[in-house]
């Protein structure tokens, strides 16, 4: 049938693509800010011991220099562990253990959704004194976790369900990260941004190796990657506007992939070079929890999970990095969601003014990264620009802007 529509302008299609990736990032950040402001209203001085604080546990009485050195040590340990984990993941991928890795990944994401989701639900229940009984709670939690695992890893589900669960996983892990001590959090963010930059762009970086391995074998990698729904025109139901060519593999497969590419939002081709943080990160999270609760279980679980997680992460979790999916839709790794939300959540612990400033900075950084993505047509790390701007604006706001605004308000001058 004839379509008498005016042709869509560049702004429509490009703007819509950007909005489709900005919306989930913003929702994740908003949820983390809400959680932080509800649950952390009493400043908790207790520090969760986990792998991220293995080198140094911050206490309130240390001097600033001690705190800084301690935070630096923590971050270095964390980044080193993540690097090792990613290399192990590359090794696993090289040895073709994909099935095992996928199953293990499903299991550990079930643990993340079930246990961390359950914990946060319990916090909320206690906070609001919701009169729910344990049977109902267990049934709902079990359903939630199992369907989450299915949606993200195992089978085809409605796209909105998959996207929703990815945002929720990002929110849960980000909330856990905001429980770290303050100096450690900031130094960790900067360290992860630098690591991401190195791992994606350097030729010896583990993520780059992984991508090249995957491409040379022409394998699909299931990934914990948020893929925005591709923008479609009325007539063309399968091809979005944005160019998708970034590697020769996709070039060769473009024509045959047209109809099948859209069904591959989970098995997306390796267009996003990623670090294995997420996998490794989730491993850390679980380790931290386990080591707190059950020391005797932690030893076998750590080895077990590191492999699985790492395997999953390279395969499944393309974290900090962006690229164009095989369907041309923009993809953003889950680690980006997590670290953006950690930054904003930590800013929320200070004041809402810093939240607004950091949110705008992160969105600006994301826009810049998208522009660079369109320019260079290859996978790029999405963390560095946004984290740099976010951290910069946080400290500027906290130390300069706030004083100004408060003084103006107190003297009834402005605001």
């Amino acid at each position: 049938m004839a379509q008498n529509q005016r042709p869509k302008s560049l702004l429509d299609s490009l703007g819509e693509e950007i909005i489709r990736i900005l919306t989930p990032v913003s929702i994740c950040m908003l949820l983390v800010v809400l959680l932080v402001s509800i649950l952390n209203s009493s400043s908790s001085l207790s520090v969760t011991s986990s792998i991220a604080t293995i080198a140094y546990s911050e206490t309130g009485s240390d001097s600033s220099w001690d705190k800084f050195i301690g935070a630096l040590l923590n971050s270095l340990v964390f980044v080193a562990v993540v690097t090792v984990a990613t290399f192990i993941l590359v090794l696993f991928f090289y040895l073709k253990c994909s099935k095992f890795l996928k199953i293990y990944m499903g299991f550990s994401s079930f643990v993340v959704l079930g246990f961390m989701g359950g914990e946060i639900a319990l916090f909320l229940i206690e906070e609001f004194s919701v009169p729910v009984d344990c049977i109902t709670f267990l049934v709902l939690l079990f359903n939630f976790a199992v369907i989450g695992v299915l949606a993200v890893f195992m089978s085809k589900m409605p796209i909105i369900v998959t996207q929703g669960y990815l945002v929720l996983i990002g929110m849960l892990v980000a909330y856990w990260f905001t429980l770290l001590p303050e100096w450690t959090t900031w130094v960790l963010l900067v360290a992860m941004a630098l690591y991401d930059l190195a791992a994606v762009l350097l030729p010896v970086g583990p993520l780059r190796l992984l991508v090249e391995l995957a491409m040379s074998r022409d394998e699909d990698i299931p990934a914990l990657v948020y893929e925005a729904r591709p923008v479609t025109h009325h007539d063309s139901a399968s091809r979005p506007v944005q160019t998708r060519i970034w590697r020769e593999r996709q070039n060769a497969r473009l024509d045959s992939e047209d109809s099948s590419s859209l069904n591959s939002d989970l098995n997306s081709t390796v267009s996003i070079v990623q670090s294995s943080h997420n996998g490794a990160r989730i491993a850390r999270v679980e380790e931290g929890q386990v080591s707190q609760r059950d020391a005797e279980l932690s030893a076998p679980l750590i080895d077990h999970r590191m492999d699985a997680q790492d395997g999953m992460s390279t395969e499944s979790l393309m974290l900090e990095g962006m690229g164009l999916g095989s369907s041309g839709a923009i993809k953003l790794g889950l680690g980006d969601f997590i670290f953006y939300s950690v930054l904003v959540g930590r800013a929320a612990m200070y004041d809402f003014m810093t939240v607004y400033a950091c949110y705008l900075a992160i969105v600006a950084g994301l826009g810049i990264t998208l522009m660079l993505l369109a320019l260079y047509q290859k996978a790029l790390p999405a963390l560095p620009v946004s984290i740099a701007l976010g951290v910069l604006f946080y400290f500027l706001t906290r130390f300069l802007l706030e004083v100004f605004i408060v003084q103006c308000s107190l003297n009834l001058l402005m605001f």
Binding site: M1, P7, K8, L10, S13, L14, S44, S46, T48, G118, E119, L122, F123, I125, E126, S129, V130, P131, V132, D133, C134, I135, T136, F137, V139, F142, N143, F144, V146, I147, L150, S155, K156, M157, P158, I159, V161, L179, R229, P230, T232, H233, D235, S236, A237, S238, R239, V241, Q242, T243, D255, D258, S259, L262, N263, D265, Q289, Q292, R293, A374
Partner: protein
């Protein structure tokens, strides 16, 4: 950005019109211009006809493992099948001529069974939860305190990690 505009013109040439799997409703009724082509709610991004049968069956069977929400996902996912079968009453018994020649049930039956299962479950669960919440101590006495979640969490120390 020139790249995307040239892509747009290439779209028309390159795009296969999405009708390799014609839904049984499509050919039969030309009056309705909004007949769906795809059986899933995702449209062209979702499943094709052949795959949707196996997915519907899998969702239905796994829902019996204490996963009623899987039934809800099933209904949500195959919503076009549910919705448009109602407006075509002759298709409700699931016209088997057009599907596989075996006598296997078609996707519609699984989806309808999932819908029924989910509604039954939600009635049971909500009645129990509401009784628990509203009845409170009057109805249950001391067991209310034992069953309510925040006490259980305190007792088991579940929130001690932070």
């Amino acid at each position: 950005m020139e790249a995307s505009q040239s892509q747009a013109s290439a779209n028309a040439a390159l795009n296969p019109h999405p009708n390799p799997n014609s839904n049984y409703t499509n050919n039969s009724n030309s009056i309705l211009s909004s007949t769906p082509v795809w059986p899933t709610i995702d449209g062209p991004l979702g499943l094709s006809e052949e795959e949707s049968l196996s997915y519907a069956r899998r969702f239905y069977k796994f829902g019996y493992a204490l996963l009623p929400f899987l039934w809800a996902v099933n209904c949500f996912y195959f919503w076009p099948v549910l919705r448009h079968s109602r407006s075509f009453p002759r298709l409700r018994p699931c016209d088997r001529r057009l599907l596989a020649p075996k006598s296997a049930p078609c996707a519609l039956e699984y989806v309808v069974s999932s819908a029924i299962g989910f509604s039954v479950f939600s009635v049971i669960l909500s009645s129990w939860a509401l009784t628990f919440a509203i009845g409170g101590e009057h109805l249950f006495g001391s067991t209310w305190d034992q069953l309510v979640m925040y006490n259980v969490a305190d007792r088991l120390g579940l929130t001690g990690w932070s």
